[in-house]
Symmetry: C2
Subunit: 348 residues, 2 copies
């Protein structure tokens, strides 16, 4: 998702643009140990977009701690999640560090530094009680958060339990590292027996995906980074999805995108669409951006890569961009009622 597409109502305010100072723990000791253990000459550092500007300072700190002949390399590839691994840098460095996300899959090649937040979550949880049911009436509540706040997940649970709630949590599937963790493309941890889900974390990107995936649940957002409590409202996005599906119903030529990023490949799904439609063409790319598709003479696109590019950035593309499920509806294989959020499972 490219920077120029940021706009009002964008879902991707992930709390990285902080309104207050925060000290991250970059866990330099772990990195330095790995440099010594492996006698490393090249160290690669990959930061999410919102933290890229901290990269030089982290590199400076590291340079002080490692031998002079070690070269530090910063990844300039776009990075919005654990699926955005810079495999070039990973393969060409002796130590490769991915900051800000938890492992999508454990690997000896990668040091994951989660960058836990030290923001106090209790004040905003207190405020969020106004949007949750009285525990005397309905005490079932699901609890989810993101990698940044996993360090406080136990505290969050205890805090809710102390106020009379039965807190439902689960680990989700193997795309998720932690119990209660959500990703932008995976909300399996919210498949719990509760009509209310409390999301504690920065931004609306994750809870809006959660609400699209679980339209039957009320998703309460307790955002300790921006210090605000809201309820996820997916109406605008659902309207956009229906609009895109309807516009794509007239399409003849389809571009079927296979994303070549290690964490975003669903080749079988792409192949299946191609095999079933003579007017569908397989297009491979890593970053799926409007300018890369503009030169293809297609009537509509299906994106088997990141569902959030389809859902959130869809209006930026010059032609309708659908998820694989939405494609089935547009070509008449499934009824419109089947429209649902596209989630991503498994690792690589």
């Amino acid at each position: 998702m490219s920077q120029e597409s940021y706009s009002e109502g964008d879902l991707r305010n992930t709390g990285m643009s902080l309104k207050h100072d925060r000290e991250w723990d970059y866990e330099l000791d772990r990195i330095v140990d790995a440099v010594h253990d492996r006698d490393a000459k090249k160290v690669g550092l990959q930061f999410p977009e919102g933290l890229k500007r901290r990269g030089p300072a982290v590199a400076d700190d590291l340079r002080e701690l490692v031998p002079d002949d070690v070269t530090i390399m910063l990844s300039g590839q776009p990075c919005y999640g654990a699926c955005d691994l810079d495999t070039f840098l990973m393969r060409r460095t002796d130590v490769f560090v991915h900051f800000g996300h938890s492992p999508m899959k454990e690997s000896d090649k990668i040091i994951y530094v989660p960058l836990f937040s030290n923001v106090d979550v209790e004040p905003i949880m207190e405020e969020s009680l106004e949007e949750l049911p009285d525990p005397d009436v309905d005490d079932e509540v699901g609890l989810v958060t993101t990698a940044q706040h996993m360090n406080l997940f136990g505290d969050m649970r205890e805090w809710l339990e102390a106020r009379g709630y039965e807190v439902h949590t689960r680990r989700g599937d193997d795309r998720l590292t932690h119990e209660g963790q959500v990703l932008g493309c995976n909300y399996a941890s919210a498949d719990v027996d509760a009509d209310h889900i409390l999301y504690v974390g920065g931004g609306k990107f994750h809870p809006l995906g959660l609400a699209m995936e679980h339209p039957e649940k009320k998703v309460v957002i307790a955002d300790p980074v921006n210090n605000v409590v809201t309820v996820a409202d997916t109406e605008k996005f659902m309207k956009q999805r229906y609009g895109a599906v309807h516009r794509a119903m007239d399409a003849e030529k389809w571009g079927v995108i296979f994303c070549t990023k290690i964490g975003q490949g669903r080749f079988d799904q792409a192949q299946e669409i191609i095999d079933g439609n003579d007017d569908a063409y397989l297009i491979t790319m890593d970053e799926v951006t409007p300018d890369r598709l503009r030169n293809f003479d297609m009537d509509a696109f299906v994106n088997t890569g990141c569902p959030r590019i389809t859902t959130d950035d869809g209006p930026q593309f010059h032609k309708p961009m659908l998820t694989p499920g939405e494609y089935e509806i547009a070509v008449g294989n499934k009824p419109l009622e089947d429209l649902s959020f596209d989630t991503f499972h498994g690792t690589w």
Copy 2:
């Protein structure tokens, strides 16, 4: 070079946006033979930006000629030259075809289809005589063209010779396939004993690079695609270069870009800059675009990748973007008079 950066005065009108219809020869027989020889199941096709919209029709034609179980994949990666090889697609397909450019390096893995133009070059060459010296006064003229017109290079030479010129040509270095060929980043084929160089080909992208590399020569552009004769005028671009160098003289923090594309890597150059400047940071990426650099808190950038991104797209970046040679001037290692066009030599 991203599409959104196209603007007035852009150098990249390479004649691909044709004002008249033209039939390309996609050399499907060569591709079909390779599919049969290798019992291929996956075929990858990579087109330059201006020809991407023809991809589906070429895929359709190929599908008719190969077994049903062969999957055709179109590269969606940006492609502006032979250096923009889609190595992902190349490695994951049994037959990989790169259209529109001549080989930067021969490889059994790659079928290069040059897509020769069938435009008649003689009428525009006739017109270009007005900008060339009278052969009775100065009969030395250099002749260059691009991959698209190489099929007519012998004819061009004979045509000039018949009009009394001594035509100087050379092959350049090993980055260039053919005698007389130029690339956007390499004009070694114009290192000839002539004050006038005649460029026969579409667009101004190549001749403007040539004129920047050889400021002492008059570069006459005979463009048979857009049917126009002009003389390359680099003034606007040279002013931009001087402006960027001057603005970068105040920079403290430098981002040094190492381009990870197979045909654009100059690691030693990047490493040398880093080693000599404690305030320089190595940033690795494939596509060098303004949005990818905006999140880095740098005062200026040095691009060791494609020089044309620096020269032509420079003003699109939020901070000064210099070539390695310009960097040496900006930090005071060399005088301003040393400013010259950055050319790219060798293959990979």
